[in-house]
Amino acid sequence: MDRFEINLANQFEEQLWGREQGKQIRESIIDSLLKTRQRVLLLNFAGVTRIDFSCASEIVSILILRLSGELKGRHLVLTGLSNFVEENIDAALDKAELCCLVLEDDNSWKMIGRYSDTLFQTLSKVIELGTVDTPTLATALNIAVTSCNNRLKTLFTLGMVYREEQTAPTGGKQFIYSSILYI
């Protein structure tokens, strides 16, 4: 489950303006992603000097929405964001009520866009533990398993955690969740 990296400035343009350009870039990214076996897309914005709200929406927001459709099981991490680029991607995500994982230069991480404190806490714990099942995570967070399950489902839909089905010790099926960082 290693990463598939696309550097937008190298492959496309340093200035990203408008929905038309955003759509073309997104479709190209999806085509490339579907041709690889790698599951984590690292979208590298290093060198991108400008991006407007519309282009950010087309590239990032709609890509995230596709993660629960044709790209189900794939994951997205952003990196190389300048303050200005991050500001507009954050605004685009906020409008769509979405969020995304950002990997910083020093390998630390953060979320941008619109998200709740509880979602952030849950993701933090998954990243801290590396790999975890729902009951263990619920205990670690001191919350009910149902709540924990809902939060994990949201994180999975947003492509922010990896999920694998395994046989539980009791004989049934269970999901094991893993961080998509540091892979």
């Binding site: 303006w17 929905r19 400008r50 519309s54 200005f84 409008k95 009520e97």
Partner: protein, 291 residues
């Protein structure tokens, strides 16, 4: 021929006055088939003035098949306008006349970019390169340049995607440093299309039918209402522009058909603007920032 005399300054806040004058003389103008827009006594025109001047001419032609003659200002303002592109306007129903030679004034005017006409998103890059150049020359911060170019990109897209303008969109920028060291930035963008409200009505946005133009603008600006109701990624452009103007205490005029909405400054205090104006088809946006 009917003559409309323009005031000594034609900037954002004079626009309603011009709309009123057009409305008062409308029947006579239509009967004559020609209107003369006389700016000979005007000594300052900002980008919103330039863009709406073209907008008024286009409205008269598109709505009534009336041709326009623009009399350029005699002094610096006329030089500005000529240099900006009024000498070579592409609209065949507009004739531009200058009474005096403007060559000596011409040399003194270096604060304004030329009028940029566009009909495609592909032109955003070149428009914004010009904006960046002007802003860098006048020492605006990288943060301001980033924000302003983002806003302009979104506004150009609105014109290209939604306005259905029969003539090209038009953009104009002016930026300079005052003797006090303040950086001034003023830009405007306009089209002669169907207007914001009508665009929303045609895409089936409920409740727009019963709103006037100024209320429709307010809904878009304050609530991010978009033509694409099932697309949650839409509706960022005008709402972010408004927030950006608020954050910077900028003046923002959004005119669309018979509505005007935005922000202005009264005794250095920011005020909201929402009013009806006599119909001038199209949408014109003006943004004026002092740092």
């Amino acid at each position: 021929m009917v003559e409309i005399k323009f005031p000594d300054r034609y900037v954002l806040r004079q626009f309603p006055e011009i709309c009123e004058l057009i409305e008062e003389n409308r029947d006579e103008i239509i009967a004559a088939g020609l209107v003369r827009l006389d700016l000979s006594a005007t000594n300052f025109v900002d980008p919103f003035g330039m863009v709406t001047l073209i907008g008024v001419c286009r409205h008269m032609f598109n709505a009534y098949h009336v041709s326009s003659t623009i009399i350029l200002p005699d002094g610096d303002a006329g030089a500005y306008m000529e240099r900006a592109g009024f000498k070579t306007l592409g609209d065949p129903f507009i004739t531009v006349i200058r009474k005096k030679s403007l060559i000596e004034y011409f040399k003194r005017n270096h604060n304004m970019g030329v009028l940029r006409f566009f009909n495609s998103e592909k032109e955003i890059q070149s428009i914004n390169e010009e904006v960046e150049g002007w802003m860098e020359t006048n020492l605006f911060s990288e943060e301001e340049i980033h924000s302003i170019t983002t806003f302009i990109s979104e506004m150009v897209q609105n014109v290209c995607q939604h306005s259905r303008t029969p003539q090209q969109g038009v953009f104009c920028i002016q930026t300079y440093k005052t003797k006090k060291g303040e950086s001034i930035l003023s830009w405007a963008i306009g089209d002669a299309g169907i207007g914001i409200r009508q665009s929303l009505v045609e895409s089936g946005v409920e409740k727009m039918e019963r709103f006037g133009d100024e209320r429709a603008i307010r809904e878009v600006v304050m609530n991010g209402i978009s033509r694409f109701q099932d697309d949650i990624t839409r509706g960022n452009g005008l709402s972010r522009l408004y927030k950006g103007a608020q954050k910077r205490s900028a003046i923002l005029y959004i005119h669309s058909n018979s509505g005007l909405f935005g922000l202005y400054s009264d005794e250095n205090k920011p005020r909201k603007l929402e009013m009806g104006v006599p119909l001038v088809m199209g949408t014109n946006i003006g943004f004026h920032l002092k740092t």
